[in-house]
Amino acid sequence: MSKSTKQQIEDITSSEYQYGFTTKIKEERIPNGLNEEIIKTISAIKNEPDWLLEWRLKAYNRWLKMSEPNWSNLKYPKIDFQDLCYYSAPKQKKKLNSLDEVDPELIKTYNKLGIPLNEQKMLSGVAVDAVFDSVSVATTFKETLKKAGVIFCSFSEAVQNHPDLIKKYLGTVVPISDNYYAALNSAVFSDGSFVYIPKGTKCPMELSTYFRINAANTGQFERTLIIADEGAYVSYLEGCTAPMRDENQLHAAVVELVTLDNAEIKYSTVQNWYPGDKDGKGGIYNFVTKRGLCKGYKSKISWTQIETGSALTWKYPSCVLKGDNSIGEFYSVALSNNFQQADTGTKMIHIGNNTKSTIISKGISAGNGQQTYRGEVKVMKNAINARNRSECDSILIGSKSGAHTFPYLDIRNASAKIEHEATTSKIGEEQLFYCNQRGIDTEDAIALIINGFCKSVFKKLPMEFAVEAQKLMEVSLEGSVG
């Protein structure tokens, strides 16, 4: 009879990574290892004020006393933190004023990634702050944003130019001692993005940052801080890719969001870090702490993530709903193919009255991929009328993949209304046969079924990125597409 569907699924789901190229560029890097001297060096390179160096050292000393979390469903060899390089930057002669001065090799890399860095892309309304390894090399559309009063720059620049805002908000959402990786990031973070939207301002364009890890054995520790002042709105997109390397690379980022009264931040991520090869060799270890604080009345934070990359993903974008009537949302699609492992989910912490949260999580496991949803909904004692709706669906492709769901509910106020739904299904042989019977081949059928499965999350992405996400899913699942 025909080639079995099972075999076809295996062929299709063991496709190659499409973004695996490295850029030959001179780096400025410091010796491997982690100690106070290294931290002082990083801080000195970045010409930081004393208070920030002290903050880093405090974080480092806390980190030394902490131990690596082992509660996740991830399996990986022990990471030697002394064998990593904590700072690597493309070597530049002088400060850059425009894109023309950027190393053409870098521009080529970005073009290969399809990052809309050049000015023509202004038409599409995307402003890009590109982070190459540790230093932000080019920032576009600063002028337009400046007119609106929006600050969008690299974290290091913000430290120099807006120290008051940094000092006021840094570490207020994710404290240095929050967790092992957040503490590590606080000690050694090298760069990242900073956004401030002033009172009553709707950011005139989508803001976007692309991260890319290039240097071998470099941990990338970026730090992002976004503040939406009263009545402000911003939509922010973060995209990530990394070159193909045999060794595993570490990525431990921290993202902090703050919304004041009536403000809204929509934060979308398309994460496509190198997932490792078909046999599970190489790939990014992605340990990320993302948290938003709905500080003000009726403020809103919405996380949307499409996670198709990384060998390991440990990530729980969360919302602390402190302001009364504030809203937190989490929409996620996570795909684990080959030997990828993802332990991801969210935390919604209801503190204010009449707070509302929505969680929609879609997990897809193919090949030997392992997928864990871990989510917590916490309603504090004094939070009256909290509402939560959670929907966690998993789909399995093939017989060797796995899906796990760990919902935690901690409800301390009786007025709370919590709904939770979870489903796990195998990508039906029946569904595939049905599509096949209508003339649709297995490869197209899988793409069709998976896109249907993810539709409710894709709808939450900004239009142009929804199309990109859909394509990325197809590329991640299929050998011949893309």
């Binding site: 009879m1 029946e430 049905y434 209508r438």
Partner: protein, 245 residues
């Protein structure tokens, strides 16, 4: 059109079908009747190419070629269509998008250009109306939350749009009320012509009041035990399956 020769097949080593022989010419309408578990649906699935069944011996000749080595989608490209007894739901996949993908896959296999989206929408709405479904149907997901009757109607709409040559109707009448049976039958009758062949799998005589079959076969224990004209169905209805045994 179709020649089933000494077909013995089943799951793994177990036989469900035993030495089936059946000839179907272009334009003919055949009915296969039989009690539950006699292998009627299995025969339909094997013709459509479902891969968890194994053919142990015999052959299936369709349009003068053996189709045993063809995958289900290749068979669909060749014009074989099955209306499912239990159509599976595909949440999030829009009915119209699904059908356009299917139509274009079949067109591609024939080296034809994709159908213009505008033309397709028109065609789709036309068929919806013919089968008595509202145009809002085009916004729903494939079989998701459909009533039993809607599922069967949607199967017939797909048949009309994909324009196959050999149509297997697996219990298309089950779950339909009298009005729906009439509408669905009208759709099927309008599609009948001298180039199309049908195999209807059913338990009941009811739908045969609308679809006039040329031949009726009775299956028992995985094999065809009796064949005849449409009067055989009437006789079965009167005497029951015990009469055959």
């Amino acid at each position: 059109m179709l020649k089933i020769k000494n077909l013995t097949a089943g799951i793994d080593d177990k036989n469900i079908l035993n030495n089936i022989n059946l000839n179907i010419n272009s334009g003919e309408f055949h009915v296969i009747m039989g009690t539950n578990g006699t292998g009627k649906s299995t025969l339909g699935h094997i013709l459509a190419g479902k891969d968890n069944y194994n053919v142990h011996s015999g052959d299936i000749i369709y349009k003068d070629k053996s189709i045993l080595d063809l995958s289900p989608d290749e068979r669909a490209h060749e014009g074989i269509f099955m209306s499912f007894q239990y159509p599976v739901s595909i949440p999030g996949v829009n009915t119209m998008h699904f059908l356009r993908t299917a139509v274009n896959s079949i067109r591609k296999s024939k080296n034809l250009d994709e159908i213009e989206p505008g033309d397709f929408i028109k065609l789709f709405k036309e068929k919806l109306e013919l089968i008595g479904l509202k145009s809002e149907f085009s916004k729903r997901s494939v079989n998701d939350g459909f009533s039993g009757g809607e599922k069967k109607r949607f199967e017939i709409i797909q048949m009309l749009l994909l324009n196959p040559d050999l149509i297997i109707l697996d219990e298309t009448d089950s779950g339909l009320d009298i009005d729906a049976i009439r509408i669905v039958s009208n759709g099927i009758n309008a599609f009948r012509n001298k180039n199309k062949s049908f195999i209807l799998i059913t338990h009941y005589n009811r739908i045969l009041n609308y679809l006039k079959p040329d031949f009726v076969h009775v299956m028992l224990n995985g094999t065809i035990v009796k064949s005849g004209g449409k009067e055989l169905a009437v006789e079965l209805e009167e005497k029951g399956y015990e009469w055959i045994k």
